[in-house]
């Protein structure tokens, strides 16, 4: 009698669906995340189609100032105090918001990864030093620092994006550090060192890909807060007036909030939906990347 087939053949289970398909299935299960994806797609679409639906400079005067929505077909969402088309502002503003969200997030995540990785991997005095710096940044109220940076270096869109990046890297850094601290003790890292793989390679090729999932999920949070921060800046009249951004629209619309609500409410809702889409997407990503056993 042959040995019973205790371990079923030494063949990998080839019938497994591809990674992407598995991920999509996990994502789809979360209805809220799908809603997030739809909203996000709408924002991206708005950004892409801005020049087609509302060609030309969104800052130019196109109609009678403070036309209410649904009154004039040329300006379906109305016009603001200077006669600018609100629809054009929303569409072109989607670009700015996405730009701010994406670039600021990239900056903060990159700084965060660099500092968190080095700190978490090497430990010791390097970690002590970097963590002191991180603590310092974390101790200053981030929005105050942001205000100071923008007030000081001027409210150009570049400065705003960089400043948002600078004030929001600490959380990703701590997260990456924590991941690295736990991952560097994992046996596969020892295995790589045992093979003679160098530190840089271990950090970026071995550990980082494994440390990324929570960071990617967190990136959606950073993205959301970036957009909120920009709008708060603009609200305090520290936005870049050369671009139609939602924050600027709210900031200026606020003066006429009581008479011409749409100048504030329309971009306000745009921000709300965009931030909501990021948050929901983040939830979905979390389901994909950090699946829990339970359904």
């Amino acid at each position: 009698m042959n040995a019973p087939d205790i371990e079923p053949a030494f063949e990998p289970q080839l019938s497994r669906p591809s990674r992407a398909a598995v991920m999509w299935r996990r994502f789809r299960r979360n209805r809220a995340a799908v809603l997030g994806l739809v909203l996000f797609a709408a924002v991206v679409l708005a950004a892409l189609l801005a020049d087609i639906i509302a060609p030309g400079d969104p800052l130019r005067r196109v109609g009678v100032p403070l036309t209410a929505p649904f009154v004039d077909a040329a300006t379906p969402l109305g016009t603001d105090q200077l006669g600018r088309d609100i629809l054009a502002g929303i569409l072109h503003g989607a670009r700015i918001s996405l730009l701010i969200g994406v670039v600021a997030t990239l900056i903060s995540i990159c700084i965060g990864i660099l500092i968190g990785a080095v700190s978490g991997y090497f430990g010791g005095w390097v970690d002590d030093l970097l963590m002191r710096v991180t603590e310092a940044f974390q101790t200053i109220p981030s929005f105050v620092l942001l205000l100071a940076l923008v007030a000081i270096f001027g409210s150009t869109i570049g400065n705003i994006v960089i400043a948002i990046g600078i004030v929001s890297w600490t959380a990703p850094a701590r997260m990456v550090r924590a991941e690295f601290m736990s991952l560097r003790r994992r046996e596969f890292v020892d295995a790589a060192r045992n093979l003679g793989v160098g530190n840089v390679s271990i950090i970026f090729r071995e550990i980082l890909p494994n440390a990324l999932p929570p960071v990617i999920v967190f990136a959606s949070v950073v993205m959301a807060t970036s957009i909120l921060m920009e709008s708060a800046l603009a609200f305090l009249a520290l936005g870049d007036p050369n671009f139609a951004s939602w924050g600027n629209m709210i900031g200026q619309g606020r003066a006429v909030l009581r008479t011409d609500w749409y100048c504030t409410v329309i971009p306000g809702v745009a921000i709300l939906l965009t931030v909501l889409s990021f948050s929901l997407l983040g939830e979905g990503l979390n389901d994909i990347l950090n699946p829990r056993q339970k359904k």
Partner: protein
């Protein structure tokens, strides 16, 4: 009453959520536990044995996993018909449970006393004083040295063995009719395991409790079982009195399982004194220092290894044996220089690894490779198998194409299909992953392989296969193995010589057969007598090759 069974499981079926590997976790399970009887439910991972236990407590993660057929009778009453509040009255009172990992099974935020007290509070009307007295009494019953101080201690403040005693005390405090013990000794060291098994038996004798004992370890089974039921992938393959199953198994699966249990007979002593020494460790020491001072607080310094020396000869397998905290894992890390030693030297091929500079070290890494304990954690989940195996050679300058081709060859050497090359680690089972780990180690063509508990995370049957593969490769490639393990059965299977470690020091060393036959040091003696089922000689089953 005394003869009526406490627990009867009749034709039990447990359904799994749709879309899984299989529709039922458990099917057609029949099982009876009589008063004063220990019934062992034996199976490997995935056999559904733990779900059976949870079903008895009605603690399945419903509705995803639920009982879809059959009955469970407790003292003749169908628990499926009970309301949730009736069940709550039963749990902890008439049926109690002991879990595998006492650290996580106890609430870390509550004192031991509180947690025992909770059982009394839930099921009795005793006042506070009486409850406290009862809790202290039961703590004394389970041989906790100082019940009063244990009562006020938090779980993390007492040792693993004590914690499991606390769990047992908690289970016994109301004298339940039935205790379900789910792998209660798996997380413990052998010597502790022996004491706990002893305690369970003692309690069972005193109180006439019926025990449903779930385990994967035939050694443990041999130690305590009255009757045995063997599960495989949700099916009951065989059940009967312990003596019959252990010595005369009839079902092929049971026979294979028993055949896979390593015998306690070491291989015949090979004389390797003529073979060259490939690795010589001299005066190794490592203390985990108290870090920092003012800025981070003080931690106690721990001496993991003190003044350790040994030699490893060409073709030899040297076992390093000890319980947790003995420093055996530290040895494996120092020898591979994954950890820097405080003192000492490790000479391989005439060079000292400990004091090698960065460049020398990198070159020397070729010579000494490692196989890790956890086959999941030791393979980077983001890399394909072929990249994992070829990584070492590529780092050391082998062209990529060549390294990949070699990696594919190695796959067949470790008995994996070449198709495995393009897959990711998570697509493999534990045993397969460990084969990949082995392939990765030998891809470097090392002189020495350090294996750190390479089979302790695997099921018995898989363990046997991997051990056989290792032995086979060692002989074919003339490798030298430094084999770190806590499991004396495994050591007996593979090692030519063993080192027994306790608290960072070698207490005994010698050829395996000699040490097993005539242990000199009391600690070695204690270890050997603690091996579960040491008196049971697994039958030679000719059909299981």
């Amino acid at each position: 009453m005394t003869d009526a069974p406490i627990l009867e499981i009749q034709d039990l079926r447990i359904s799994l959520p749709a879309g899984g590997d299989r529709p039922y976790a458990l099917e057609h399970l029949d099982l009876t536990v009589n008063p004063g009887e220990i019934v062992c439910l034996v199976g490997e991972s995935g056999s559904g044995k733990s779900l059976a236990a949870n079903a008895v407590m009605r603690l399945l993660p419903e509705p995803h996993v639920h009982v879809s057929a059959g009955r469970i009778l407790l003292d003749g009453e169908d628990i499926g018909a009970k309301s949730e509040s009736e069940m709550r009255a039963i749990r902890g009172d008439r049926v109690a449970m002991i879990f595998q990992e006492p650290m996580t099974a106890l609430n870390p935020q509550k004192t031991v006393g509180w947690q025992i007290d909770e059982v009394l509070r839930l099921h009795t009307d005793l006042d506070r004083k009486a409850r406290r007295a009862r809790a202290l009494e039961i703590l004394g019953d389970v041989h906790i040295p100082d019940p009063a101080s244990a009562y006020n201690a938090y779980p993390h403040q007492i040792s693993g063995g004590q914690r499991q005693r606390v769990m047992i005390a908690m289970a016994l405090v109301l004298n339940p009719r039935l205790i379900i013990a789910d792998e209660p000794t798996t997380a413990l060291d052998v010597t502790t395991q022996k004491q706990i098994l002893h305690l369970i038996k003692e309690m069972q004798r005193q109180h006439g409790t019926g025990i449903l004992f779930i385990t994967h370890d035939f050694g443990v089974v041999a130690e305590i079982a009255d009757r045995i039921a063997v599960l495989r992938l949700g099916e009951l393959v065989e059940s009967g009195p312990a003596e019959q199953i252990l010595n005369h198994p009839s079902h092929p699966y049971t026979r294979a399982l028993i055949a896979a249990v390593p015998a306690l007979t070491p291989p015949a002593h090979k004389d390797l004194s003529a073979a060259p020494v490939v690795l010589r460790a001299q005066g190794l020491a490592k203390t985990f220092a108290a870090r920092g001072g003012l800025l981070s607080g003080r931690r106690q310094a721990v001496t993991a290894v003190r003044d350790l020396s040994f030699e490893l000869r060409q073709g030899e397998t040297l076992g390093v044996v000890g319980e947790s905290g003995s420093g055996k894992t530290t040895v494996s890390r120092i020898v591979t220089r994954l950890l820097d030693a405080d003192r000492g030297e490790v000479v391989i091929g005439g060079h000292d690894l400990i004091h090698a500079d960065r460049r020398q070290l990198r070159a020397m890494r070729r010579d000494i490779q490692m196989i890790f304990q956890d086959p999941m954690a030791s393979l980077n989940p983001r890399k394909r198998v072929v990249d994992l195996i070829a990584q070492g050679p590529i780092v050391h300058g082998v062209p990529k194409a060549e390294a990949h081709a070699r990696a594919r060859e190695l796959l067949s050497l470790v008995e994996l299909s070449p198709a495995a090359a393009e897959r990711y680690p998570h697509e493999f089972s534990g045993g397969q992953r460990q084969r990949i780990g082995i392939a990765r180690a030998i891809a470097m063509q090392p002189k020495v392989i350090v294996a750190d508990e390479p089979v302790s995370a695997l099921d018995v049957s898989v363990q046997a296969q991997v051990l056989r593969l290792l032995a086979d490769l060692r002989d074919r490639l003339d490798l030298s193995l430094l084999f770190v393990t806590h499991d004396l059965r495994v050591a007996a299977q593979l090692c030519d010589r063993i080192i027994v470690m306790q608290k960072g020091e070698i207490v005994e060393t010698g050829p395996t057969a000699q040490v097993f036959a005539d242990p000199q040091h009391p600690y070695t003696q204690a270890l050997l007598t603690s091996i579960p089922g040491r008196d049971w000689q697994p039958p030679k089953l000719t059909d299981a090759a």
